[in-house]
């Protein structure tokens, strides 16, 4: 054992834990194929991918937050609030400006900005006022959910007909049959993976999550990086909303309900450590797909009582993680 060997043996082992979520995904796909011939149809595949996009985009941001040792429970209601605000403003603008592309662009800009601002508020309160992330975002979760209910007067905020028709292609349109949400999700996933693995920011997130004090002593700007993770997550919520609103053109008190739990579950199924210190974006993407597929499979068959859908979902989530534990080494 000398320094020479130290040089040669560079990253040899094939880590099985790495591919475990993929195995779970493949198993689900095989089950799907066995159960229904339409499962692999182009329509079904694109449906599943497109509907994964909202939570997927949010979960990418959540991966960074969790990797750096944080948590955000507010994303679901933040999405609802941002969507509500966007629709409200677009409707108002349509009245005054008479609709058209500018209104859509302003709406999009507003959604992105509102998401960013909401993320910033979470982040600043967590980093500067030092409030436990779980509690703070539990609080803002309630606040945003209330605000959207209030904005919608208890009901549903719907985009005016004309605007809706104009904005529709952002969800339903695409390039070569691949719809925009899928394209945006894929692009953001790749970007997220690169940021996590190949930039100082991603490395700093992992360092902070692993040991905040060590990070601070290594002159990592702990507070700024942590703040950034929340801001980024907020921005991604904004992007998700931009993709979401054209789908049904409406937002209500139930929009985005439980998205936070789904996003967190996807992140953890993907292999990111809940305690922080290690995260992988591609794992999160796989996690999101697993969750969407479970729902899809349950809708494609009916050998279980619909009351038990939730139970099946629970079992599969647990199994996916058990698989991961047992295929690979536990971290």
């Amino acid at each position: 054992m000398n320094t020479a060997t130290l040089r040669q043996t560079r990253r040899p082992k094939v880590n099985l834990a790495v591919i475990a979520p993929v195995v779970a995904l493949v198993v689900l796909v095989l089950i799907g194929i066995a159960m229904n011939p339409n499962f692999l149809s182009f329509a079904n595949v694109t449906n599943v991918l497109a509907r994964s996009a909202f939570i997927g985009i949010i979960a990418i941001g959540m991966t960074f937050v969790i990797t750096s040792g944080g948590l955000d429970l507010s994303v679901g209601s933040m999405a609802a609030f941002v969507a509500g605000l966007m629709i409200l403003v677009m409707n108002l603008l349509t009245e005054s400006m008479g609709g058209g592309l500018p209104v859509i662009l302003i709406g999009i800009a507003l959604a992105l900005f509102a998401g960013l601002a909401a993320g910033f508020i979470n982040g600043i309160l967590i980093t500067r006022a030092g409030i436990e992330a779980f509690i703070l975002t539990l609080g803002t979760m309630g606040i945003y959910r209330s605000l959207v209910t209030w904005l919608a007067d208890g009901g549903t905020l719907s985009l005016g007909y004309e605007m809706r028709e104009m904005y529709r292609p952002v969800y339903y349109g695409g390039i070569m049959g691949i719809s925009w949400p899928i394209i945006v999700f894929a692009a953001l996933a790749i970007l997220g993976e690169i940021v996590m693995r190949h930039t100082a920011f991603g490395r700093h997130c992992a360092a902070i999550g692993s040991n905040e004090k060590v990070a601070r002593y290594s002159s990592v700007a702990v507070l700024r990086v942590r703040l950034m993770t929340y801001v980024m997550l907020g921005l991604l919520v904004g992007i998700a909303v931009v993709m979401y609103v054209p789908r049904l053109g409406s937002a209500s008190a139930t929009t985005g309900l439980l998205w936070e739990l789904e996003a967190i579950a996807a992140v953890i199924i993907g292999g990111t450590l809940l305690k922080g210190g290690f995260g992988r974006v591609w794992g999160t993407v796989v996690g999101v797909l697993i969750l969407s597929l479970i729902g899809n499979l349950l809708n494609l068959t009916d050998f279980v009582s619909p009351y038990l859908n939730g139970a099946i979902q629970g079992v599969v989530i647990i199994l996916a993680v058990v698989l991961q534990r047992n295929t690979g080494t536990a971290r």
Partner: protein
């Protein structure tokens, strides 16, 4: 004089409209009768509703109560105790499991809601027609509606391909409909036990380009739906009423009873009606949020 009002929180479109009407009515009545005070609480589960009722009695000395029970069974006991203490009780929509507790009962009819839609299906569709059914959040209301629908189509030869919960939610309904469209090559009609779900289902059908193959019947008379019926949209031929404004009726009648000293008691059951292109105009309310 204080009137307590306890209704479910606005967790879906219909409940939202309920909230809207309740708030407006309270505003209007408070202005008209300065002596009247209102306590409006909204709740998201039966347990919390019981707590709200307890608070009203313990701290607000209510003289009358207008309550839309979140679930009938668990609220029966607590409401009975309030009624026993001499408070005027108006029950809205969901009946209690013991008879004779309430002074006034204003309600829609869930069985009729499902039945009316079912009857329309049985009439319009041929034998062997294939339909899918989207249910609401698992609850007694949902069970009653579905039972009404099922009994109406019994013997008509209509085949229910699939039945699942869309949870009165547009997004869930959209996903569910997408998957059903992938799964079933032939669908002749969709019954969504609420208009929010109908909106989601319609978007999915539209996306798949199968608008011409089937029609969708929702329920509760959402503005958007009534508008489509009014314009004779073949995809949305009819709708079934379940007016959220019943809460206004209940509050008004209770207030009237308190102020005029001539209490109006009894039962007002508002049966569900079929909205058709012919009568749609009567069900379209420009200002309603629903």
């Amino acid at each position: 004089e204080t009137i307590g009002i306890s209704i479910p929180a606005a967790t879906h479109g219909w409940a939202g409209a309920l909230n809207y009407h309740a708030e407006r009515t309270v505003e209007r009545l408070s202005e008209a009768n300065p002596d009247l005070e209102f306590v409006l609480t909204t709740t998201s589960d039966p347990g919390q509703q019981v707590s709200d009722l307890e608070d009203m009695v313990a701290t607000r000395n209510i003289d009358a109560l207008v309550v839309l029970p979140f679930e009938s069974e668990p609220l029966t006991g607590p409401i009975q105790r309030i009624a026993d203490s001499g408070v005027w009780v108006t029950v809205v929509d969901r009946g209690l499991t013991q008879e004779g507790i309430e002074d006034l009962y204003v309600a829609g009819d869930n069985d009729s809601f499902g039945r009316t839609a079912g009857e329309y299906f049985a009439e319009t569709l041929d034998e062997g027609a294939k339909v899918v059914v989207m249910r609401g959040i698992a609850s007694t209301v949902d069970n009653e509606r579905v039972a009404g629908f099922e009994s109406a189509i019994e013997g008509s030869g209509i085949e229910v391909l699939a039945m699942d919960h869309g949870n009165w939610n547009r997004d869930t309904a959209f996903n569910l409909m997408q998957d059903w469209l992938s799964r079933f090559p032939d669908i002749d009609a969709v019954w969504a036990a609420d208009d929010d779900m109908a909106v989601g289902a319609l978007a999915a059908i539209d996306q798949a380009g199968r608008t011409d193959e089937m029609f969708v019947v929702g329920g509760a008379g959402m503005k958007e739906m009534v508008d489509r019926i009014r314009n004779s949209d073949p995809t949305v031929p009819v709708n079934v009423t379940y007016p959220p404004a019943m809460i206004s009726t209940a509050i008004e009648m209770t207030a009237l009873g308190l102020t005029s000293g001539a209490p109006v008691s009894g039962e007002f059951i508002i049966a569900s009606e079929l909205i058709t292109p012919e009568n749609a105009e009567n069900y379209y309310f420009e200002d309603s949020p629903y």
